[in-house]
């Protein structure tokens, strides 16, 4: 990104476009992957689908959080 876009946006009091280039896209993509992976292990793993096979440690560990955060359980 360039300084001018930041200042153009800031001068009018609204938000500027802040992204540019492949590197920014990769960072955002990686962050989404991380967020979705965490979401999956807290909410779904060892319930409907399971990465570690027929084991319930992840499920039982976050059991209360899973119920309370609104995910279907059991």
């Amino acid at each position: 990104m360039s300084t001018s876009t930041t200042l153009d946006g800031a001068r009018t009091g609204s938000t500027p476009v802040v992204l540019g280039g492949t590197r920014a896209a990769l960072w955002l993509f990686g962050t989404v992957l991380l967020g979705v992976a965490l979401y999956y292990f807290i909410g779904i793993d060892q319930g409907a689908t399971s990465v570690f096979g027929n084991d319930t440690h992840v499920h039982e560990f976050v059991h209360d959080a899973r119920h309370f955060l609104g995910f279907p359980c059991h």
Partner: protein, 282 residues
């Protein structure tokens, strides 16, 4: 710039998760314990019924973690990690929304994106498939229920993003106020139609076969062979309190994310007299 957003998003997500955990520990855990006590009592009553009927009695499987561990450590790690995940996704959404959502100040946008996250990732799916405490939910339908819940989350995200886009298309013609109202109305109509079409958990084929037609999987009273009630249905007050606290905890999480990210975004995106001459290091 995107890295600053991501780090800050995850940090405010962790703070939000911590506050939501403290809330959950104080308010939700007693309700979860009541639900588990109900479940244990119901299982005992069921075993007694099976025994008198001469049927084989099901034995409870061993749990890898104690209740104390689940209710203090597990729930904390789970909710804080969830907060970090939501903060990460929030930061990406914020970075993408910057400059693409009309004339909004950075800190106003921070609150709007947090509101969108709360709605799309929790409250709209909750309206169709609300959070359930332990004891509610049949094991045989976990695949369908998870699939439907995630479908509802996915549709909510797509509809809200499309609604934001539509609102901006309409803005030139109807002005910001009316365009916003029209976009909200369009989202509500589409989401309402989706909720009407998707099946209720109680109407899943495995449930209809085993229990007949019901809207949900909430346990009904347990009856003996003569039809007398030997164990009550799931207590309504516990169910309400659990769901109410569930909504409140997510409001705490997303509210913290929005309110903490707002000043950080304002500082990141506002011009500083001493650095405005130098090239930005993003």
């Amino acid at each position: 710039m995107e890295r600053q957003f991501i780090v800050r998003g995850m940090a405010v997500g962790a703070i939000g998760g911590l506050l939501a955990f403290l809330f959950a520990r104080i308010f939700a855990e007693p309700q979860i314990q009541k639900a588990i006590d109900y479940e244990s009592g119901r299982e005992a009553a069921q075993s007694l019924l099976d025994k008198t009927a001469g049927m084989p009695v099901e034995h409870e499987h061993a749990e890898p973690f104690s209740r104390a561990f689940q209710g203090n450590v597990g729930i904390g790690v789970g909710i804080i990690a969830f907060g970090i995940a939501m903060g990460a996704l929030y930061a990406v959404a914020y970075a993408l929304a910057c400059g693409r959502t009309g004339k909004v100040r950075p800190r106003t946008l921070a609150l709007l994106v947090a509101g969108g996250g709360f709605l799309a990732l929790y409250l709209i799916p909750f309206a169709k498939y609300p959070a359930n405490p332990p004891a509610i939910g049949h094991e045989d339908t976990i695949r369908e229920r998870s699939g439907l819940y995630l479908l509802m989350v996915g549709i909510s995200i797509v509809v809200l993003v499309a609604g934001t886009w539509l609102g901006q298309r309409l803005q030139a013609r109807f002005g910001t106020w009316n365009a916003t109202l029209l976009a909200v109305l369009a989202c509500a109509v589409v989401l309402g139609a989706v909720m009407l079409v998707l099946p209720s958990f109680g109407e899943l084929s495995a449930n209809v076969e085993a229990y007949g037609h019901h809207a949900t999987e909430t346990p009904l009273p347990l009856r003996d062979a003569q039809g007398r009630i030997v164990y009550p249905g799931f207590p309504a007050d516990t169910l309400f309190a659990f769901r109410f606290f569930s909504v409140a905890a997510q409001a705490v999480l997303w509210g913290t994310i929005g309110l903490c990210f707002a000043p950080l975004a304002e500082r990141l995106l506002s011009p500083r007299p001493d650095t405005s001459a130098a090239p930005a290091t993003a």
